[in-house]
């Protein structure tokens, strides 16, 4: 980020190969250092040439796919930024948002949420941090989703990101930042007046709980009007995302405040006075209940509390954003509540004056301070009972008899026959689709059963037996399935690591259940070839000492091996106890065992 004189802004510069830093917008050359990128060598104290610099382990050790995700997210966010014209001169917001997105990825925040929602929330968070005048509803409008949906994702993101700190550090939006957004250059007077109006609105408690943009729009409208520029309301509401009714309401509210009655000059004069007086103000009035805290409640833990449990900086911010606690008109919501209270009071007064006896209200009395709630005709029944609530949150079984319930009353809750009939008709009419679905399901079930039965119809004499068999088989299958699953689970737990490759593969296949079509025998053979040949060898050794059977086998093997001397084939074919044995043994000349040659005669 360097400052470009021509654009009079901070820009992200572009650096060409050999070190010229130029502005990415106007192209003006900002820095002219030449950098060399080859490694440099220096001589150390012993006169030995050494590489200057160190090898640094890569800090960013993220995987390729993660990098790709982040880059894609950055692209999307840049697109959003451009579409909303957030900040044409630098990518700062996108970088900040990208960092939030990275943390979110690590905390698995993107799982189960649409990625564009998460990106918008990250971007909005970045905008809030940099005090950019953009509303959640701008993003929601761009994405064409409900603003409350985006809002919920945003709130969850805040929670996830600040998990480490344990504190919500998001700053509040000051409506004044929106003024510049909605005006273009040259209307300085309008802007100034608008800002004054907004400050006055804040002091008159019009702003708490309201959307910042709406107030801003109203302030601008008034300010423009006071300077003779007539904007149609439709223009304002297009930019500000409030409807005309709301705008009118705000104007009326402002009219009702004291400031609304002043003329323009008086108003400006008053603002100037207030501003100068605020500079000389010292310790503010901290309200009726002093908080006797030694440390601050805000996040600047090391500072001393100035007022309301806030450090000086936070206090100033609070005053600027909200307008403080002193004086001004009441907030409109409060005014409405007050009106309602007075209305109720007057109704009560009338009722009381009309009727001499207060039979209806029972134990109620109209209170002077307006703490009156609704007047009812029933007595207050539960006041005494509520102190002790027997078994309310215990897990008792109080079912036995419902003798405390009035049966007559309960009967009143049940329909009589005719009513039942009518209700049935009505209900079936209303829920016709559901009933049809259920009927279809049942029909399908019955049809399946029928098909099964039809198969058995072909052998009628065994019908019953077959059915029973089928039922029993099904039961066994189910049971065995269950047992199998349980056994498998138990085995998987108990079995240690596999001893051979075959076992390992089998374990893996069993666990993953890739296919029931795997031929385990072939699998075993796969790993068993060297073992098989060893077995063969063992057999041959034995044959030299053994009886006829072994000899038979041995000779067979010999035949298989194909090392049998053709000339002796006949002899080899006679399998009886003969002195030719040794000769036959000698014919096995492919494998030198050392035993066969020691025979001198049998």
């Amino acid at each position: 980020m360097v400052y470009c004189n021509n654009c009079s802004r901070n820009v992200s510069g572009e650096r060409l190969d050999e070190g010229l830093l130029s502005c990415s917008f106007c192209g003006k050359v900002l820095e002219e250092y030449n950098f060399a990128t080859e490694p440099q060598f220096v001589k150390d104290s012993a006169g030995q040439s050494k590489l200057s610099g160190n090898f640094v382990r890569s800090v960013q050790a993220i995987s390729d796919s993660r990098r790709r995700t982040l880059d894609y997210a950055s692209e999307q966010m840049s697109g959003m930024k451009n579409a909303l014209q957030i900040d044409d001169y630098s990518d700062d917001v996108v970088h900040t948002a990208r960092r939030f997105y990275e943390i979110g990825l690590e905390r698995n925040f993107t799982r189960g949420r649409r990625s564009e929602l998460v990106q918008a929330a990250c971007l909005y968070l970045a905008c809030r941090q940099k005090r950019k005048p953009f509303l959640l509803i701008d993003f929601a409008h761009y994405l064409k989703i409900n603003v409350y949906e985006l809002g919920s994702v945003y709130l969850q993101l805040c929670y996830v990101l600040y998990l480490a700190d344990g504190k919500d550090l998001q700053k509040l939006i000051d409506p004044s930042i929106f003024i510049h957004k909605f005006t273009n250059e040259g209307n300085d007077e309008v802007v100034k007046t608008a800002r004054n109006i907004l400050a006055s609105m804040k002091r008159d408690w019009m702003q708490t709980g309201r959307k910042p943009s709406g107030l801003c729009g109203a302030a601008l409208y008034i300010s423009a009007l006071s300077h003779g520029l007539k904007f149609p309301k439709s223009e304002i509401i297009k930019h500000v995302y409030i409807c005309e009714a709301t705008l009118s309401k705000r104007l009326i509210e402002f009219e009702n405040t004291n400031a609304g009655a002043l003329t323009m000059e008086e108003f400006t004069e008053k603002e100037r006075e207030l501003r100068t007086s605020s500079l000389t103000r010292k310790q503010p009035n901290t309200g009726s209940k002093e908080t006797s805290l030694d440390e601050v409640l805000c996040r600047h833990k090391e500072r001393k509390p100035f007022a309301y449990g806030l450090c000086n900086e936070c206090y100033e911010e609070f005053m600027k954003v909200s307008g403080g606690l002193d004086g001004g008109s009441d907030p409109p919501a409060f005014q409405r509540a007050e009106k309602e209270r007075l209305a109720k009071l007057s109704i009560e007064e009338n009722a009381k004056s009309k009727s001499s006896c207060t039979s209806a209200s029972g134990s109620e009395k109209p209170e002077n301070c307006g703490a009156l709630e609704d007047a009812t005709n029933k007595e207050a029944i539960d006041e005494g009972d509520n102190d002790k609530l027997p078994g309310v949150d215990g897990s008792d079984d109080e079912s036995d008899n419902f003798s405390d319930i009035d049966d007559f009353e309960v009967d009143g809750y049940l329909h009589n026959e005719e009513e039942k009939r009518f209700k049935k008709i009505i209900w079936e009419e209303i829920n016709r689709e559901y009933l049809e679905e259920q009927a279809a399901k049942e029909a399908a079930l019955a049809a399946a059963k029928e098909a099964c039965m039809a198969n058995y119809d072909k052998c009628p004499e065994d019908l019953q037996a077959a059915q029973e068999l089928a039922a029993a088989a099904a039961e066994v299958v189910v049971k065995s399935k269950k047992e199998r699953l349980q056994k498998r689970a138990a085995e998987a737990k108990n079995a240690g690591p596999a001893k051979t490759a075959a076992e390992a593969t089998r374990q893996m296949l069993v666990k993953k259940r890739l296919s029931s079509k795997i031929n385990y025998d072939a699998l075993e053979k796969l790993f068993d070839e060297p073992v098989a040949t060893e077995k063969c060898k063992k057999q041959r050794i034995e044959s030299n000492f053994d009886s006829d059977e072994k000899e038979e086998r041995a000779s067979k093997i010999g035949k298989d091996e194909g090392d049998y001397d053709e000339g002796d084939e006949e002899d080899g074919g006679i399998y009886d106890d003969n002195p030719e044995f040794d000769k036959q043994v000698y014919d096995y000349d492919d494998n030198d065992y050392g035993y066969g040659y020691d025979y001198d005669g049998y």
Binding site: L135, R210, C298, L325, S361, E364
Partner: protein, 177 residues
């Protein structure tokens, strides 16, 4: 069931229990009970008055005792319809209360000083959502001074939560000229 807070009007507020002098009224109580038997919902819906059955989707009481009474009445109704209903595990799940402190509150100040517990987004919702840790209760605070307290399982939690927040609210009250 139409009983609405006649509680405060009936006797003076006990200041030892409610130092602020204001008692929240309970607006809604949600409770559950286990009837311990299978129910044919369609049949019940057809036979009982005031019963709706929407196959495609025991609240409203204004006091715990009423809630329990209502639950028992419903169990009795179901018994009469022929199901062997019992009354097990009655438990109150949620109590919602509301009250009015009668002075305007600067929500921004609360958001600044109690940022760890408050969530104030005027773009989304005009009230401040305060999540108290002890007792674990959620309060909705509005600029007009009206407070909604929810999440309590017993009535006392509601009262405690309100007494805890009251001093904070007075700190950010509007200073009348």
């Amino acid at each position: 069931m139409a009983e609405q807070g006649g509680l405060e009007g009936s006797q003076p507020v006990d200041l030892s229990k409610h130092p602020s002098g204001i008692v929240p009224t309970l607006q809604n109580i949600v409770s559950t009970v286990n009837l311990d038997c299978k129910l044919d919902l369609k049949q019940i819906a057809l036979q009982a008055r005031n019963a709706e059955y929407n196959p495609k989707v025991c609240t409203g009481a204004k006091s715990e005792q009423q809630s329990k009474l209502a639950a028992r009445k419903y169990a009795r109704i179901i018994q009469k319809l022929g199901f062997p209903a019992k009354f097990k595990d009655f438990k109150i799940q949620n109590i919602v209360g509301s009250c009015d402190v009668k002075f305007p509150i600067r929500l921004e100040g609360l958001a600044y000083s109690h940022g760890a517990f408050s969530s104030y987004e005027p773009e989304l919702f005009p009230g401040l959502i305060y999540r108290m840790k002890q007792p674990k209760i959620v309060l909705l605070i509005f600029v007009s001074g009206k407070i909604v307290i929810t999440g309590a399982k017993v009535r006392d939690e509601t009262y405690t939560a309100f007494e805890n927040i009251y001093p904070v609210l007075t700190e950010f009250r509007k200073n009348q000229q």
